[in-house]
Subunit: 212 residues, 2 copies
Amino acid sequence: MPLRRSRIISAAMELIEREGLEAVSMRRLATELGCGLVALYSYVPSAEALLDGVADAVVSCIGPAPAASWEDQLVAQARAFRTAARAHPRCAAITASRPARSQARSRLRSLEHALAALRAAGLSRPDAVRTVRAFAAYALGSVLGEAGASAPSAASTPATIHGRLEPAEFPQVTDLAAELTRQEPEADFEFGLRLLVRATAALLSAEGESAA
Amino acid sequence: MPLRRSRIISAAMELIEREGLEAVSMRRLATELGCGLVALYSYVPSAEALLDGVADAVVSCIGPAPAASWEDQLVAQARAFRTAARAHPRCAAITASRPARSQARSRLRSLEHALAALRAAGLSRPDAVRTVRAFAAYALGSVLGEAGASAPSAASTPATIHGRLEPAEFPQVTDLAAELTRQEPEADFEFGLRLLVRATAALLSAEGESAA
DNA sequence: ACCTGAACACCGTTCAAGT
DNA sequence: ACCTGAACACCGTTCAAGT
């Protein structure tokens, strides 16, 4: 099995998911791959570039999401994003934390499709762009929020804390403890998505009226 | 000037904003503070704990945002979150990337206020929780998206790329180049916020009807 | 061409000791 | 009590050399 850039990046991703980012180093990766440390530098110019490669790999496994209506289009893209992120949660966190260096191509495709759907539905140019950005922000925040909530140190979430919470100071949190504790990330995600879809629909009909 | 935990963390935050996370190390911090390396360990148990302290400091400088209506309450909190994040953008990215370890107290206060506002407005228990989560996800994603877009390596954003883009493959992106290039993070943020507020209002009136 | 060991300048953390 | 230097086991990266 020859040493290839893709093989190195796959190994890095596996190691990240298995033991976390702090376990990854060029040296460790070399022993993991059974090759000399210096050999890696022929395929990956630096440790930084390695993580860029990982970030790339995560976004490039976001499947295309063609759909008929603009609602389905935006919802499907948001779900595809979330699915990809959940497939490699720890790698996804890395992706989010480093500004889109390359990754550009596949992101551009998504952007194109989303914009096309919204423009075809009748949204104005600036509103189409801003709506896509709002959906993107929501999807990113959801994924990262989930990752944070399900992280190893989840020992200090409101759920665990509220046991020793004075109801007088936090009446709502105390009262809604059951709802706050329940872990339904999927349903939470879909709820917010529907919120955004409905608001966009309202925007569309409002613009339709003012144009008519 | 004695060595205090708060002084160490402030110095770390300054250094992070000035030179980035990769410049921070216990050794570097010690020379920056003019003290011995080992002295730091009396106030900060480890390098990891140092970053937890930084994360804490960022969220604890989110100002309270009391407001009359539920709309103002949720909008004000989202803005306060964004303001705090923009005050220390690089530290904020660190905060987002590490699951809420402590940070709990001030986050809990925000949660309490948001829930109170939505419950008072008449939202059901599960919907109140999910609405707050949707707003939080949106705010988090917005802040992180902005940080990524304005990062040093912003050389590969659609804006720069689209110059050599075939309009045939990316008609929408080409056509909307002006809107996509324009950097108005504030307006983008407010747009999405209004979207969520309107959708929540619709939800409220829908629940009101079904309850009546 | 492709891989290697040895070296360099860094890390975080701990120890045993100083005042 | 508070601080210290020296040491240990790690890093990423580069060099000059091997096949």
